[in-house]
């Protein structure tokens, strides 16, 4: 029966004729604090296995956790950005279960008193409307280590010959953000799910507290889906699809589960409450580890840690420093810079919005800033195969180059050479100008000497100019430009030529 259902799941449109979908989204965000949640080990992605470990994050006997204050601050910031209340007194709890990549065989988490609770996020949808997602809570916890199952075909534990454990991730600070049930989205449920995770990602990125890279696992989404027959109040049995690791997958996973649930329910079956695994290739889900009995995590207050009591003053200080919501900021920037929808989208898609904004903040006009990043630098990045944000030039440096052009020190052509020099590691724009000797020759005495020399060399041209054929001056300008190796401002040379001829020299 299962295979029939999975071969022909219902479309979302078909599902919502009979059912109302209900979703609950749990998003784990790894914070980008310098150190781990409960010890001083470095929190970094991609280090040699088991190098960022100590007695505390390895859970060695006798070791004790101590709370990372920066992680608490990040949690409060996330809560405030999600319009949550901050709990006056919030505690940690132990969640007890056995797994080899969890060093203590319990996870320090929060249970009955999460640090922030009761909030919402107004999520922008594709059609310009917003959808309010209610947030139940966000709490702090520690990440587990990583198991690598070796020798099997699937990389999963079944069929593996042996497993390797990497505890670098053990103890990395996590914030788990849990929505209240999302109801009434109907046919838009998959879109709402994707848009929520996307908006959440943007908000957290704007706070600067996490890299929120779904591809690297610093943001992970578990999607709970259930269906209830239209007109009924009681929720249906839910399934939880774990670790969906792209925005597109969130949408696809919800869509697939809706269709699958409908298929099972309409053929008279029942949904099993279980965790499911999303397969990127096929876009389908499969049953995860079957839970024969409901897991009893035996939560109890963590006796090694004292409660956290954020002061009102501190919370208000953090609230006052909250950045604009990313989509509100985009709307403002679009107006301020006079961008078309398409130009804004290009900026966002090129991951250049922040770079351009920072360049503008450093004093450059938006138009020049945008042109440098989206045209020249985007091409450079593309050619050298790095992300735009990883180019070896800062927005401040780009702004400096733009200033040098507007002051007349550089021509556009020279400016590109200066940028190339910065990218090549030759120092700041001014260093490159000095080092390569690229400045426009703007010293009038030097230019005048060059002009006089060119005039002396071509008396026939001088005569033509005197006769009123000012276009002939082009030949002199060309000679001067050649003599100064292009580093003179041609317009300035032109006027100097006319001045010197008129002066009768």
């Amino acid at each position: 029966m299962t295979s029939i259902v999975e071969a022909a799941p219902y479309t979302v449109e078909e599902v919502v004729e009979r059912f109302d979908p209900v979703m609950g989204l749990e998003v784990h965000v790894e914070l980008n604090t310098a150190t781990k949640m409960f010890c001083g080990c470095r929190n970094e992605f991609g280090a040699e296995p088991n190098t960022n470990v100590c007695p505390v994050c390895l859970g060695l006997p006798g070791s004790l956790p101590r709370v990372n204050a920066r992680a608490v601050e990040s949690a409060v910031l996330i809560g405030l950005a999600l319009n949550c209340s901050v709990r006056e007194r919030s505690g940690f709890a132990r969640k007890n279960y056995f797994y080899p990549d969890m060093p203590k065989n319990f996870q320090i988490s929060q249970y009955e008193d999460p640090i922030v609770f009761d909030g919402y996020l107004d999520v922008p949808l594709d059609d310009g409307t917003t959808w309010r997602v209610d947030i139940e809570r966000a709490h702090m916890e520690e990440d587990t280590g990583k198991s690598l199952h070796m020798g099997g075909a699937t990389g999963r534990i079944h069929g593996a010959d042996y497993s390797l454990l990497d505890y670098n991730r053990a103890g990395v600070p996590l914030i788990e953000i849990v929505t209240r049930p999302i109801e009434g989205a109907g046919v838009r449920a998959p879109e709402v799910a994707r848009a929520y995770v996307s908006a959440l990602r943007d908000v957290i990125k704007g706070l600067g507290v996490s890299d929120v890279r779904m591809d690297q696992g610093s943001m992970r989404c578990d999607a709970n889906v259930s269906l209830k027959p239209k007109g009924t109040a009681e929720f249906g049995t839910r399934t939880e699809t774990k670790n969906v690791n792209s925005l597109r997958s969130v949408e696809r996973a919800v869509r697939y589960e809706m269709g699958r649930h409908a298929g099972v329910l309409l053929s008279g079956g029942t949904i099993t409450q279980e965790t499911r695994h999303f397969d990127e290739q096929s876009g389908t889900t499969s049953a995860g580890r079957p839970k024969e009995t409901f897991a009893d995590y035996r939560f109890f207050p963590e006796p090694d840690l004292v409660p956290i009591e954020p002061s009102d003053d501190w919370v208000e200080q953090l609230r006052a420093g909250l950045p604009e919501r990313p989509w509100e900021r985009r709307a403002r920037i679009q107006t301020d810079w006079g961008l078309s929808d398409e130009e804004l989208r290009d900026l966002v898609n090129a991951d250049a919005l922040d770079l351009v904004a920072d360049t503008v903040d450093a004093g450059a006009p938006p138009e020049s800033a945008r042109s440098w990043w989206v045209a020249y630098l985007a091409q450079e990045a593309n050619t050298s195969g790095v992300a735009l944000t990883e180019l070896a030039i800062t927005p401040e440096q780009v702004a400096r180059v733009i200033t040098l052009v507007s002051e007349g020190t550089l021509t556009n052509k020279l400016a590109r050479q200066v940028v190339d020099g910065v990218l090549a590691g030759e120092g700041s724009p001014d260093d490159v100008v000095a080092g390569r000797g690229l400045a426009v020759v703007s010293d009038d005495s030097a230019l005048t000497a060059a002009v006089d020399e060119a005039l002396a060399a071509q008396p026939d041209v001088v005569q033509k100019i005197r006769d009123g054929k000012t276009k002939a001056a082009g030949a002199i300008v060309g000679a001067v430009m050649k003599a100064t190796r292009g580093q003179a401002d041609a317009a300035r040379v032109q006027s100097l030529v006319l001045e010197r001829v008129a002066a009768g020299s």
Binding site: P55, L58, G59, L60, P61, G62, S63, L64, P65, R66, V67, R94, N96, F98, P100, P103, K104, N105, F106, S163, L165, D296, R298, F299, F300, P303, D304, L305, V306
Partner: protein
């Protein structure tokens, strides 16, 4: 006791420190004398005390030589520099194994020092080795050690108490002048009483737990053993004080316990209000314990104290609450012993799954009492029983806290017998866990409330000749009061007897004609 230095092992720590720092004797000689004493009386295989699980003879002598050199150069690290000390084997030591007297940690060498251990080293004390205990500090007789029992120096057929039985017995027998232990429900004070030594459980949060292998995190506290009140106070000041590595550590100055011990020794308790806890005496208490306790209270009155009777009704529910809370925390704390990262691993032969290896290891690695408590604790925290067991125990704990608070409005310190009985014969209670648990009856309330308690010897029970302990309890952060009262009592006790109580401890080497004991080098090989 043929060694010319043998008398060094009868000196108290304060006197050793004075002589070493005055260069009347070297720390090396003192250390060598204690190592010889260990060699003479400790070997468990020959029927010795079995107080040590690991003796670090070479390291101890090297440390002592270093301290001697420093003193010769004019540097004294602290008041106890050059004095030997023993460490309960549930504290992490980077240069010695740490087994918790459990098979599951056999061979584990921590890569770090517990804060208390680090402070011992920084203060110039000389660690002699690691002492025996009930496995993971779970027990009151030291019979739960996976590496053998410990005998009571007063009578080798009796237990030394527990769980810090090794530290207590070693201190009593002159194997070390000082030792540190840990007290979760009485594990310092109870063996202190059983062996005629002074033992203190400081206020919770005043000695760092960092590096103490957790049994019950909200109750565990490291504390000192000595043969005199002043010695215990001096050691207390070395190991105590705020530690950022332990978030339950209190960021406040340590109560001035040495000053209090010195003040108390002048023998005046005028104006001190002493409360005798009604619920901690009477039926079920050994006659000789009650008579020794009554005599001690009379001495306090003679010293000027104002003695009143105080009722703490919730103390009767302290023990059942403790036997829910402590196992609950233990069931979680001990979950990490799963064969994956360190210690014992059983069944890793390619034919067992991860879960099976975990099970087989825990089956082989944990003793029966540890298993019993893991099961009780797992049950108490499970969804169906949490409210009825763990939740209810927390409420009882709150009542104990309130009773202490009310009692301390009426008096400065509370007193009781430390244990309802004297040390019982080895094997007497092994088949009766509840009888065993009764040994913690008087000490548990202070753990539940996080307050301080100290046991000082108050004579011997006439019926068995075994020492009896007087427990002095104080409010949190008023540990100094316990030292003052105990020191005053100690002075009066010794002047009445005409000799220090410690000098009356029989020499276990003389108790019978046992064969020479197992050597230190053999002991080291065993761990």
């Amino acid at each position: 006791m043929s060694s010319p230095d043998a008398e060094l092992t009868r000196l108290d720590a304060a006197e050793i420190a004075r002589r070493v720092q005055a260069r009347e004797v070297s720390s090396v000689d003192v250390t060598r004398a204690h190592l010889a004493r260990i060699d003479a009386v400790d070997g468990a295989e020959g029927g010795g005390l079995g107080a040590f699980l690991h003796v670090a003879a070479e390291q101890a002598l090297a440390t002592a030589a270093e301290i001697d050199a420093e003193i010769a150069a004019g540097t004294v690290r602290g008041p106890l520099a050059g004095v030997p000390v023993a460490i309960k084997d549930n504290m992490a030591t980077r240069d010695m194994p740490t087994t918790c007297a459990s098979r599951i940690l056999e061979g584990w060498r921590p890569p770090y020092d517990a804060t208390a251990v680090r402070r011992l080293r920084e203060a110039g004390l000389v660690p002699l080795g690691k002492t025996n205990l009930d496995e993971f500090a779970m027990g009151g007789s030291n019979e739960n050690s996976a590496y053998g029992i410990v005998r009571n120096p007063w009578d080798p057929s009796r237990v030394p108490g527990g769980s810090s039985g090794g530290s207590a017995a070693a201190t009593a027998a002159g194997e070390t002048p000082l030792a540190i232990g840990s007290d979760t429900g009485g594990s310092i004070r109870q063996p202190g009483a059983f062996t005629g030594t002074v033992g203190c459980k400081p206020t919770y949060g005043t000695v760092s737990r960092y590096g103490l292998v957790a049994f019950s995190s909200s109750l565990d506290q490291i504390g000192p053993f000595g043969r005199t009140v002043l010695d215990a106070a001096m050691l207390h000041e070395v190991i105590g004080g705020h530690d950022p590595c332990d978030q339950t550590s209190i960021d406040a100055p340590l109560p001035p316990v040495v000053e209090a011990a010195l003040a108390g020794a002048r023998g005046d308790l005028t104006g001190v209000r002493v409360g005798v806890v009604t619920e901690l005496s009477g039926e079920g208490y050994q006659t000789g314990v009650l008579s020794a306790f009554t005599d001690a209270v009379r001495v306090l009155t003679d010293l000027g104290a104002e003695v009143v009777e105080v009722s703490c009704p919730s103390f009767t529910s302290a023990m059942p609450a403790y036997y829910i809370i402590a196992p609950s925390e233990a069931s979680s704390n001990l979950a990490r012993f799963d064969a994956m990262r360190y210690g014992l691993r059983v069944g890793d032969d390619g034919s067992h799954s991860t879960d099976e290896v975990m099970s087989l290891t825990r089956e082989a690695g944990f003793g029966p009492e540890v298993k019993r408590r893991i099961m009780i604790g797992t049950h108490a925290l499970s969804a169906g029983s949490y409210d009825a067991l763990y939740g209810k125990a927390l409420k009882a704990r709150t009542l104990v806290v309130r009773d202490f608070a009310a009692a301390f409005e009426q008096c400065d310190v509370l007193v009781s017998p430390t244990v309802p009985t004297t040390a019982f014969p080895i094997g007497d209670r092994v088949d009766d866990p509840v009888a065993m648990y009764l040994a913690d009856l008087c000490t548990i309330p202070a753990n539940l409330a996080g307050t301080a308690g100290l046991s000082v010897p108050c004579g011997r029970a006439p019926e068995d000749g075994m020492p009896v302990g007087l427990q002095v309890m104080t409010p949190a952060l008023a540990d100094d009061r316990a030292y003052r009262v105990a020191a005053a009592y100690e002075t009066a006790r010794d002047s009445a007897a005409g000799a220090p109580f410690a000098s009356t401890i029989p020499d276990p080497a003389d108790l019978d004609g046992r064969a020479p004991l197992r050597s230190v080098s053999t002991l080291q090989g065993a761990s």
